[in-house]
């Protein structure tokens, strides 16, 4: 065994230094490299922008009459439906509901999901005294439950009965959908999911059930599937006469 020379100690130092530098450098660069791949999702610090306008297209011809998957998926995602034990049925939250419509003349029956229509000019936002009822830059309409005083004027104003008032104390809430007694809530188009580049729960459930009646996408992107489909076959607004320019559109009604 050769005795340790001063050079070899220096070498060891160099080696150690290089290793550590590489490790530190790697640690610094790696997240950028790795996270860049999932960076489609909007970083939390980045503001929601009006470059997008999120919308949902409902094809009522594909919507199955007995199917309730979109509703249960929404309940699962946002934690409503089972949490209210004291409220009467007409007091319980309904973020999304299946509606059956029958033509009085022809007897033609259709089924469709009805939820917040995410209007461009939402009456609920107009009437809210505190600004709790608000529209994000990307068109999603939702309630800031920190400043909602529970006056229910938005519920009076909504043409779609899309909003619910919470009539009792709630437990077992979802982290992504905090809810509270005495405030108003509604479909938020699964904003926490949308911000991470995922589809709303109802849309995902509809695809999983192989109905494909719900199509989610950016109405401002002419290349998006929803825009292409709307351009090709059109889509109606419920109560178009009110001129609200809804983000949720329907085909087949």
């Amino acid at each position: 065994m050769s005795p340790k020379t001063p050079e070899s100690t220096t070498d060891q130092y160099r080696r150690k230094f290089l290793k550590q530098s590489a490790a530190v450098g790697g640690l610094m660069v790696a997240p950028g490299v790795i996270l860049n791949q999932v960076a489609h999702a909007k970083p939390d610090a980045e503001k929601v922008s009006n470059k997008n306008r999120w919308g949902i297209l409902v094809d009522t011809n594909k919507c199955s009459k007995g199917c309730n998957d979109c509703v249960t998926a929404c309940q699962e995602e946002n934690g409503w439906g089972k949490s209210e034990t004291k409220s009467r049925p007409d007091q319980q939250a309904q973020w999304i509901r299946k509606v059956t419509i029958t033509d009085k003349q022809t007897g033609h029956v259709q089924s469709l999901p009805l939820m917040c229509q995410h209007c461009e000019n939402p009456p609920c936002v107009d009437v809210c005294p505190t600004g709790a009822s608000m529209k994000r830059e990307d068109g999603i309409v939702l309630v800031d439950r920190h400043i909602c005083i529970g006056c229910r004027y938005c519920m009076m104003a909504c043409p779609y009965k899309a909003r619910s008032f919470i009539h009792e104390h709630l437990q077992y809430q979802k982290v992504n959908a905090p809810r509270g007694i005495g405030t108003v809530e509604s479909c938020n188009m699964c904003a926490p999911r949308v911000d991470r580049d995922r589809e709303p729960a109802c849309v995902e459930a509809c695809s999983k059930a192989e109905h494909g009646a719900l199509l989610f996408g950016d109405l401002k992107d002419p290349e998006s599937a929803i825009s292409v489909e709307l351009k090709k076959h059109g889509g109606k607004q419920i109560r178009a006469d009110l001129g609200l320019n809804t983000g949720v559109r329907y085909q087949g009604i």
Binding site: S87, P129, R163, S164, H167, G182
Partner: protein
């Protein structure tokens, strides 16, 4: 005409203390009802996600509307320079402020989160008529408060005309705002009409004066102060005109709606098929609130009886509450029309007439609003000089001949 002498009431009789105790009891009951409704949530009320505004709003909106109307007597004296109304003006401002306080208490205590009142006072969405109303209500206290001061303090008297004029303008805007709460609801068949605002103004004239007359007659009777026929006749005839005015607006509103086919559904619901709402309209608003009071007031002999006119005033108030019930709750009970020409059904009662049965707690909270208003008046007339010592004919009418 002699200058009216305003004095406090003595307020030391057992009757006075019993009145305060009675009103205090109603206020405590209302607070108890609030605790009951707010502690566990609104599930204990008759309100729901279909009928979101219930009995508390019927009382609250009525009181707020009546508040601005109660100011009318003062406005007639300072804005329209009718000297005969001058002795009546201070009580008019007091009643206006008191009724508004009562109405707002009911409104605030029915909020889902009344603890967040500070949020409502600090965060404003200026496109909301509700937010404007918060400013208008607060401003009403200030403007009418100043007006009251200019009347009560002699050195301030010279400003009372200006203050009275400001208060008059303010109350017109305020009631326009209250009516517009409903007028601006585009989605609902029963609302969404510009006529709501002027209709609410005329309603305020009528309800405010009816309450004013009852308070005036009661306080003069209980304090043994003279209330002459001249004042009495003047006020009751004015009430008659206001009742007829409200009737006119109701007729115009329904006739306009009946002309438009799209509103036939909701009109048939209110006027013919709506069950309790139809009964409320015909028996409550039309019979009790309009026909009977008009008949009493304009009857040559019955119309001169103080107690008969007192009953007429009470009926105007009951009819007003009935009209509020029909407008606020009947308007929500009628289903929203989402798909014209189609039958709709869902787990959320789409396409069905919405049920509402007011609970005792809601009603007690509403009555508490009246109690607060009357308590304020009863207390204030004891500590400040609101009431003229005499409203006898020779004291108020310069041309009175015996």
């Amino acid at each position: 005409m002699k200058k009216p002498v305003f004095t406090q009431i003595k307020g030391n009789s057992s009757g006075y203390w019993m009145l305060l105790a009675l009103l205090g009891g109603f206020i405590l009951t209302a607070l108890g009802a609030t605790y009951y409704m707010e502690h566990g949530g609104h599930y204990v009320t008759g309100m729901s996600n279909n009928i979101v505004w219930g009995m508390p709003h019927v009382f609250a909106v009525f009181l707020i509307v009546a508040a601005s109307g109660a100011l009318n007597v003062a406005s007639i004296s300072s804005v329209f320079a009718k000297t005969a109304y001058k002795p009546l003006a201070p009580l008019s401002t007091l009643l206006a402020v008191a009724l508004l306080a009562g109405g707002l208490m009911v409104l605030v205590l029915d909020l889902g989160r009344p603890d967040r009142l500070i949020v409502a006072m600090t965060k404003y969405n200026f496109k909301s008529i509700f937010a404007w109303n918060i400013i208008l209500y607060n401003g009403f206290f200030v403007v009418v408060g100043i007006y009251m001061w200019t009347m009560l303090q002699r050195s301030m008297n010279k400003y009372s005309k200006v203050a009275g004029f400001s208060a008059f303008i303010w109350r017109l805007i305020l009631t326009t705002g209250t009516g517009s709460i409903f007028g601006f609801l585009v989605a609902r068949q029963a609302y969404d009409a510009a006529i709501m605002a002027p209709m609410f103004i005329v309603m305020s004239f009528s309800y405010g004066l009816a309450i004013y007359m009852l308070v005036l007659m009661a306080s003069y009777k209980w304090t043994n102060r003279p209330l002459g026929d001249a004042t009495f006749k003047r006020l009751k005839n004015l009430l008659g005109v206001f009742i007829a005015g409200v009737f006119y607006f109701i007729v115009v509103k329904h006739l306009t709606n009946l002309y438009a086919t799209e509103h036939h559904g909701v009109e048939a619901f209110i006027l013919r098929d709506g069950g309790i709402y139809t009964q409320m309209f015909w028996y409550g608003v039309m019979l009790i609130g309009t026909v009977i009071p008009l008949a009493i007031i304009y009857h040559p002999t019955v119309g001169m009886s103080r107690s008969a006119v007192g009953v007429a005033s009470l009926f105007v108030i009951l009819g007003g509450l009935a009209l509020m019930y029909v407008i606020i709750i009947g308007g929500q009970a009628y289903p929203l029309v989402l798909f014209p020409g189609k039958e709709v059904s869902s787990t959320f009662f789409d396409g069905m007439v919405n049920n509402y049965a007011p609970t005792l707690a809601e009603t007690l909270l509403g009555i508490g609003g009246f109690a607060v208003a009357l308590f304020i008046v009863a207390f204030a007339v004891k500590v400040l000089r609101f009431l003229p010592e005499s409203l006898a004919d020779e004291a108020v009418d310069p041309h009175h001949s015996k």
